[in-house]
């Protein structure tokens, strides 16, 4: 063996030989390690990454259920829960990009801080569909590949107001129980400072006023869109012997919480003690409440429509198809209209 090595070395200048071997190995090592991450991707499958702001949000959960049901065999959906952490959502954005997602759907935790997500999307040129939690127009317009799918909070507030107004003006319902011409009402609001909550509340009340309803506010409680918190707040009001003729809740969960409060306190007599309750969202629970008469009406937030629109848009973006028939307004927005739901049409929405 030694002779062989001797011969090897003696065939040319040792130094050069060593240098070339070294360089060769260095080159190979770099190539190998650099190549490690590149994997062959089959372009027949479409990968959609989704990050929801909180998996405990009923509406979002039901929306995502709809969305997932549309997925064909060649479409893979990867879902992440940001758990109300913007930082976590930023990480998830990176992961989705690394994971080779063709389209990314983001349900922003913090609408005021989408920079990191936008930066990553611009850097890797990935199309992003924001949904349900709306960011500012300027941010959305930073790329031609950014879209927003959702609904118009203002519209829902107005519709809720209209529903309530109709109900109040309907003598059969006798919402003004004490007949003093004023409606004693309680507003159950979502999060403090939450854009949708504020918009819905304001427009609902404004609409009522526009319809000539005279309002007497007996309570404004922030229940953070949470059913139990709403229950707690309403119970407190009930225990304080507050006279309540109308409860307006920014979402169905809180409306259900209000109902829970009455059931909890009055038990079987609850239904008779209930004031008029209106919610927004049209979650299955809310619809059931409307169906069973516990709630007088809700405003249906078209989760099916949104899910479908999101899905179609995502597929179109991933496959590079034209976006003409998708109902995009203003180049970036797809807004699904709300519909009012009362006992009359609730069955249409329930199944």
């Amino acid at each position: 063996m030694m002779k062989g090595i001797s011969r090897f070395f003696s065939q040319s200048e040792i130094r050069k030989k060593i240098l070339s071997v070294y360089l060769m190995m260095a080159l190979m090592a770099t190539i190998i390690s650099g190549c490690g991450n590149i994997k062959n991707k089959d372009k027949d499958t479409i990968r959609i990454g989704v990050s929801v702001y909180d998996i405990h949000d009923t509406f979002i959960t039901q929306l995502m259920d709809e969305f997932n049901s549309y997925a064909d065999a060649n479409v893979t959906v990867i879902t992440y829960n940001a758990g109300q952490s913007m930082k976590e959502q930023n990480n998830q954005m990176q992961e989705m990009i690394d994971g080779g997602c063709d389209v990314i759907c983001i349900n922003l935790v913090d609408r005021t801080e989408p920079e990191h997500i936008i930066d990553l999307a611009l850097k890797y040129d990935v199309p992003v569909i924001f949904f349900n939690r709306e960011l500012t127009g300027e941010d959305l317009r930073r790329s031609d590949n950014f879209y927003y799918v959702g609904s118009d909070a203002m519209e829902s507030g107005i519709m809720q107001g209209e529903l309530a107004a109709e109900g109040i003006l309907d003598e059969n319902l006798n919402i003004d129980a004490n007949g003093d011409g004023y409606i004693q009402y309680v507003m159950l609001q979502g999060e403090a400072g939450h854009q949708d909550a504020i918009v819905r509340s304001e427009y609902c009340v404004e609409t009522l006023i526009d319809h000539g309803i005279k309002l007497d506010r007996k309570g404004l409680a922030i229940a953070n869109f949470n059913r139990t918190q709403a229950q707690s707040k309403i119970e407190q009001l009930i225990n304080a012997k507050t006279e309540i003729e109308l409860i307006i809740a920014n979402n169905d969960d809180m409306a259900l919480g209000a109902i829970d409060a009455y059931i909890n306190i009055f038990g079987d007599k609850a239904k008779s003690m209930l004031p008029a309750i209106y919610g927004i969202d049209g979650t299955i629970g809310g619809l059931e409440a409307v169906k069973t008469g516990y709630m007088y009406g809700t405003v249906y937030n078209d989760k099916e429509g949104q899910a479908h629109a999101m899905y179609d848009l995502a597929i179109a973006l991933a496959t590079g198809q034209p976006l003409d028939d998708l109902g995009i307004e203003d180049e970036h927005y797809i807004r699904l209209p709300h519909t009012k739901v009362t006992l009359d049409n609730v069955n249409d929405y329930l199944y």
Binding site: M2, K3, I5, S6, F9, S10, E13, I14, I18, V21, Y22, M25, A26, A29, T30, S33, G34, G36, N37, K39, N40, K41, D42, T45, R47, V50, I55, T61, M64, D65, N68, S69, A71, A73, N74, T76, V77, I78, T79, Y80, N81, G83, S85, E88, E95, D98, G99, G100, L256, I259, I263, I284, G285, E288, A289, T292, Y294
Partner: protein, 340 residues
């Protein structure tokens, strides 16, 4: 003048030293370069049925924690097989095509499972969770299983029920089980039957309850005059609990009164825990799903990083809890894993 040939002819040991040094240089060079270069990031996909169900919360927490610790890219695939092995197979294939180095799978069918697994390319690792198959048929050393020991879990449940009631003689028990096509489900049923019948209990019915509604469960209970309901699966336990409360699955209004049947189950979802807390479920065996998720990723990461090591099955822990004991220090860690 300076002819290398001379050294090597003159001194063989000098040639040896120089060769050794050169090899050493090359090795170190590679080592130094490698550390600066990008580290290979492995990709593991997770395919379980009804992936977004809250039942997988603990499991996901474990997965993500281990993924973070090991630098693994985790793809938690959104699914809803509704019992279709074909769909599951499709997803597995897609994930492998997309570059998954390993796939964590909850098989939704017993026999179909073998077919799915036999098609898997040889360089992909498969970690089965919750439901096992007869791996010997597959002759593939890259498949292993993590889950609870079905026999032990069921036996524990049966024993605890006996302790709770004091005496099971003549007690009428109705068994609600998961997908009967799965071997682990059968094991659970058989183990439970064995232990409970040994102490004198009477099994009045034993059905696959995955598709049953609350109403149908109610009918079974009244038709067979069951005293106790035993649900051997998380989703089934949820449905049974709903039945007990006489509410439907969306937890909206109570529509009827209650029926006085005791419910015991196996599960881990927040809904079940809440029901347990309220006493709707008398006692529940909670499998440490966090451990399952964590160890699934951890052991895969281990074999991915070290080709020579082999995969082996792993049994996760479990605990029997009641409404009173669920907040005890040891239990609350397992029932309510933290880690976002």
């Amino acid at each position: 003048m300076w002819n290398p040939r001379n050294i090597f002819n003159e001194s063989k040991w000098l040639a040896a030293i120089v060769t050794a040094i050169v090899i050493g240089i090359v090795v170190c060079a590679i080592d130094v370069i490698n550390v600066d270069g990008t580290v290979v990031k492995y990709q593991i996909s997770v395919i379980v049925d009804d992936s977004n169900s809250a039942r997988w919360d603990s499991f996901q927490t474990g997965l993500r924690q281990a993924a973070r610790e090991n630098g693994i890219r985790l793809n938690y695939v959104t699914t809803d097989f509704e019992g279709s092995p074909l769909q599951e197979k499709n997803l597995i294939d897609q994930e492998i095509e997309n570059g998954a180095d390993a796939v964590i799978v909850q098989l939704c069918s017993g026999s179909g499972g073998i077919d799915i697994l036999s098609d898997v390319p040889a360089n992909v690792y498969i970690e089965l969770i919750d439901n096992n198959v007869e791996k010997e048929e597959l002759d593939n050393s890259r498949i292993s299983f993590i889950g609870a020991d079905s026999v032990q879990v069921s036996s524990e449940l049966a024993t605890r029920i006996e302790q709770d009631l004091g005496d099971l003689t003549g007690v009428r028990i109705g068994i609600l089980a998961g997908n009967l096509k799965l071997a682990s489900v059968q094991e659970r049923i058989n183990a439970f039957k064995e232990v409970s019948q040994e102490v004198g209990a009477q099994i009045v019915f034993s059905v696959e309850a995955t598709e049953l509604t609350e109403r149908e469960i109610g009918e079974l209970v009244s038709n067979n005059d069951a005293d106790i309901l035993v649900a051997l699966d998380n989703d089934v336990t949820e449905t049974a609990a709903d039945y007990i409360q006489m509410v439907d699955s969306y937890n909206s209004y109570p529509t009827n009164g209650r029926k006085n049947v005791k419910l015991y189950g196996i599960g881990c979802s927040p809904e079940n825990l809440s029901d347990l807390d309220q006493g709707i479920i008398g006692g529940m065996v909670v499998i440490n799903e966090y451990e399952m998720g964590y160890m699934a990723i951890n052991s895969l990461a281990y074999v991915l990083k070290d080709e020579r090591s082999k995969m082996s099955d792993y049994t996760v822990g479990y605990a029997y809890v009641t409404g009173e004991t669920m907040y005890d220090e040891g239990n609350q860690q397992i029932l309510f894993p933290i880690g976002d």
